[in-house]
């Protein structure tokens, strides 16, 4: 099927066999199936191998600084709520360098989708520990093994009452695509943490390991129960995949609550400041 988000002749900067290739295909398919318009979609990313994703997608993009995709994505959405905004990077970028923004993006609840490629290692900088690297794992830098506790993004997001929290695996094309579609359609901040093997630097968490250490939540699972979702997020032997949590109480988004959109729904760039009105206000300073 022809996909308008495809671009040809790209010199892709990923290693052969990298999980990013499947994520790229999955995302382009999901966006196409949702009939997103290229002109009205913005992909925002930070820096890292995962963050190169927008380079290979035929849509608007903002490839910013390491760790800073979420503030940019927030501002793009808020300045023009007609845009579909996807913020995408690796877990080092989103949870390490950008960890503070992750917490506050959850609190704000801007209607954006946050996709995190979680390969449990720093890829681009060649194999140092990431916030989610397993304890004990030896890396190019942590040569005696990692001693820090791994960061649990799902537990953090659920405990903060994030609007939509899901986990996926790059090896499962269909399931992951459906999860991403749900996330994009969801009104409010939606985070999808995607397990992704790194063939070059993470020999422990490879394709087989992720297969073995994950399972899909079944139909009986109630994603609206925060306490149950939190319990699920603490399962570390076998990680649950699917939509872990949706917060029914997060009914309005950040941008809907802004005074600037109270009566006027137009994107900011379409509005013209009435300078006479400002001068009148200034005259009140006499």
């Amino acid at each position: 099927m022809k996909n308008k988000f495809d671009i040809s002749n790209q010199d892709i900067a990923w290693c052969p066999g990298c999980g990013n290739f499947s994520i790229l295909e999955i995302i382009k398919k999901a966006m196409n199936e949702l009939e997103l318009e290229q002109e009205n979609t913005v992909m925002v990313s930070g820096i890292g191998q995962a963050a190169k994703m927008p380079q290979y997608v035929n849509t608007n993009f903002f490839n910013g600084l390491h760790g800073r995709a979420l503030p940019v994505a927030t501002a793009v959405k808020v300045s023009n709520p007609k845009m579909t905004v996807i913020a995408e990077s690796g877990e080092g970028d989103m949870y390490g360098e950008g960890g503070n923004h992750f917490i506050h993006a959850i609190r704000r609840n801007v209607n954006i989708t946050n996709i995190v490629h979680n390969n449990m290692i720093y890829g681009l900088t060649k194999g140092q520990a990431s916030p989610t690297t397993s304890k004990g794992m030896k890396t190019t830098l942590q040569i005696f093994g990692v001693t820090n506790e791994p960061f649990n993004p799902m537990a953090v997001a659920i405990s903060l009452g994030a609007s939509f929290v899901a986990r996926a695996f790059s090896g499962d094309q269909e399931q992951t695509k459906e999860i991403i579609k749900k996330a994009i359609l969801h009104k409010g901040y939606a985070v999808v943490d995607i397990f992704q093997p790194c063939v070059s630097f993470n020999k422990l968490n490879n394709f087989a390991w992720f297969k073995e250490h994950s399972y899909y939540l079944d139909d009986k699972y109630d994603p609206y129960d925060q306490v149950e979702a939190f319990r699920k997020s603490l399962e570390m032997e076998k990680f649950p995949l699917g939509v872990l949590y949706m917060n029914k109480e997060r009914v309005t988004t950040f941008e809907e609550n802004l005074i600037a959109y109270e009566t006027n729904k137009a994107p900011l760039f379409e509005r013209k400041r009435d300078l006479e009105k400002v001068k009148l206000s200034l005259a009140g300073m006499k």
Partner: protein, 572 residues
């Protein structure tokens, strides 16, 4: 009493000083506004400590028969509201200073005091919290004024707190007024400065209002910032106007987020401002650099305070010129503006947005605590401003970084036109996609740097005042304009010329002849290392010999500049 000059006919400097929490800020707001509305030329400013309670804070109110725009060192009338107040301003007292105070508050003081029972009256009304309004009443009576305007202000200010509070405050004002009137009638203190009813209709803003209105006039519709004194005022200002002017206001989680949001907003078509102080700006360095490479505009307001580190959080300094100049790694152009007076701040700030949009570079506005907190009345503001929106509608094959002669590629935004807009903090090709092609790298660097040539043709030129045949040239930048100007008026020496910069970067080589012509050059800066003099040397090669520098956290007083300029410039 004999030594004292207790009748004020031309100029008076009144200082009210007390602890944080005693309502010194309220006194200042009420008095400067009531006096100005009564037709006086008023200058007001404050200095305060970084704490919520205790310490010593003061407000300086200068009233004159001329439109003065600076503060004096020597205090004519001091009203201390607590026991530490006199010591706090001790080195600004002279033999002629009149101290009006309540001896009950000012035990064991060696100073001669005209005793007025401020505290007793406040307590009789209900509480010592009324002390500040009693003091306002005293001051107004010294001007032989009346209570009407004061009552109006007090009612407006305390209305939300209920009738009882309003009534008590009105009572406090009245009792204070009676105390002051007795002093006036007994010829103990009299202020008989000429009024001009036309002053009522002057603009009356402080620097903070002026920057805020400038942002509004520049079309600013987005602000994301993290609180940091003295930069927070502009954030609050825009929040207060967010409904009527439709502004998106967000308190970011940190300054890194703030600037990245600001840049993201410009990318999507907004006109964003970020306000902060030096410490917060230091965290924004990478963001400035991002704006440089992706050529997405950003406007940052740095409200300077003394560093390094946390420094003196509530004080003033012109110490961040160099960080503004050199922040952000890599090589790219920028523009730095330092508003110099209330009159030119609205326009300069508005212009920052137009310049950022036109040249697609970071534009930094440098103010400082003193400037932001100082008020004076003025007849005319430069409001010849338009919002010059440069966003284009994109075509199908849009190239965000199309190479051309000027280096300025037309800027599209996502969702407006048929094209796609790619911006990339990695080196990129004309489409905005990442590249490691080293030839393109050179082309893109040249393109970005080339913009500086156009920027230089669009400079806000420095203002020269004084005699063209000067021997001594005085140079200042930013917030020092008014005090230097007032000092030179007082000195009135035909051999002095004065060159003041509102745009501090880039500056044009056209200024070199000004420097070459002078026998003496004096640079005046509110910092320790003469940062602007260093920049002038880079541009002109001229080393400036005489430096008047101040870096104790306070702005210049009129008298000290008069004295120091005279030392260098000599006789008339």
């Amino acid at each position: 009493m004999d030594k004292r000059d207790n009748f004020f006919k031309e100029d008076v400097s009144i200082v009210l000083c007390g602890e944080a929490g005693q309502g010194i800020k309220t006194i200042e707001l009420i008095l400067v506004h009531v006096l100005k509305k009564s037709g006086y030329n008023v200058f007001g400013t404050k200095e305060y400590m970084s704490r919520i309670r205790g310490g010593s804070n003061s407000t300086i109110i200068r009233v004159s028969d001329k439109n003065v725009k600076s503060m004096k060192d020597k205090i004519d009338i001091l009203i201390p509201l607590d026991s530490k107040a006199i010591e706090h301003v001790a080195d600004r007292l002279s033999d002629n200073t009149i101290i009006l105070g309540d001896k009950e508050l000012l035990t064991d003081t060696k100073y001669e005091i005209i005793d007025i029972p401020l505290l007793k009256i406040a307590k009789e009304i209900g509480s010592k919290i009324y002390l500040n309004i009693v003091a306002c009443g005293v001051v107004l009576a010294l001007f032989n004024s009346n209570l009407d305007l004061l009552n109006e202000f007090v009612t407006e200010k305390f209305e939300s707190k209920g009738k009882a509070i309003v009534d008590n405050n009105i009572e406090a004002a009245k009792s204070g007024f009676e105390l002051g009137k007795a002093l006036y009638d007994d010829s103990k203190v009299r202020i008989d400065i000429k009024r001009d009813p036309k002053i009522k209709d002057d603009y009356f803003l402080n620097g903070n209002d002026a920057v805020g209105y400038g942002a509004l006039m520049g079309g600013c519709n987005f602000i994301s910032s993290y609180p940091m004194s003295p930069g927070t005022g502009v954030l609050t200002f825009l929040s207060e106007h967010s409904k009527e002017m439709e502004i998106v206001v967000e308190q970011a989680e940190d300054e890194i987020s703030a600037i990245n949001m600001g840049i993201g907003a410009w990318y999507a078509g907004a006109r964003a401002l970020v306000t902060t102080s030096g410490g917060g700006f230091a965290l924004m360095g990478e963001g400035i650099s991002l704006s440089g490479i992706i050529e997405t505009p950003i406007v940052v307001h740095i409200a300077q305070r003394p560093g390094p580190g946390t420094g003196l959080p509530t004080r003033t300094e012109q110490g961040d010129l160099e960080v503004a100049l050199y922040s952000g790694h890599g090589e790219f152009p920028r523009i730095i503006l330092a508003p110099s007076s209330i009159e030119n701040t609205v326009k300069t700030t508005a212009e920052a947005f137009n310049l950022a949009d036109k040249y697609q570079v970071p534009v930094i506005i440098l103010t400082d605590q003193y400037f932001l907190d100082s008020f004076y009345n003025t007849k005319k503001l430069d409001l010849d401003i338009k919002v010059d929106d440069k966003i284009i509608k994109t075509d199908k094959d849009y190239k965000r970084y199309k190479l051309n002669a000027s280096g300025i590629s037309p800027r599209g935004i996502p969702g407006f036109g048929d094209g796609l807009v790619h911006v990339d903090s990695d080196e990129h090709d004309e489409y905005g996609r990442l590249t490691e092609d080293l030839d393109i790298r050179v082309k893109m660097t040249d393109k970005r740097l080339h913009k500086l040539d156009s920027i230089k043709k669009d400079i806000i030129e420095p203002v020269f005042t004084g005699n063209k045949d000067y021997e001594t040239l005085v140079i200042g930048w930013g917030s020092t304009f008014n005090v230097i100007n007032d000092a030179l008026k007082e000195i009135n020496n035909k051999k002095i010329g004065y060159l003041h910069f509102t745009q501090v970067y880039p500056i044009s080589d056209k200024i070199k002849p000004y420097l070459d012509k002078a026998k003496n050059i004096i640079i005046i800066e509110n910092n320790a290392t003469a940062q602007f003099a260093k920049l002038l040397k880079i541009v002109t090669g001229v080393e400036i010999e005489h430096k008047i520098l101040k870096y104790n956290g306070m702005h210049f007083y009129l008298e000290e500049l008069v004295e120091k300029i005279n030392e260098v410039a000599g006789d008339k």
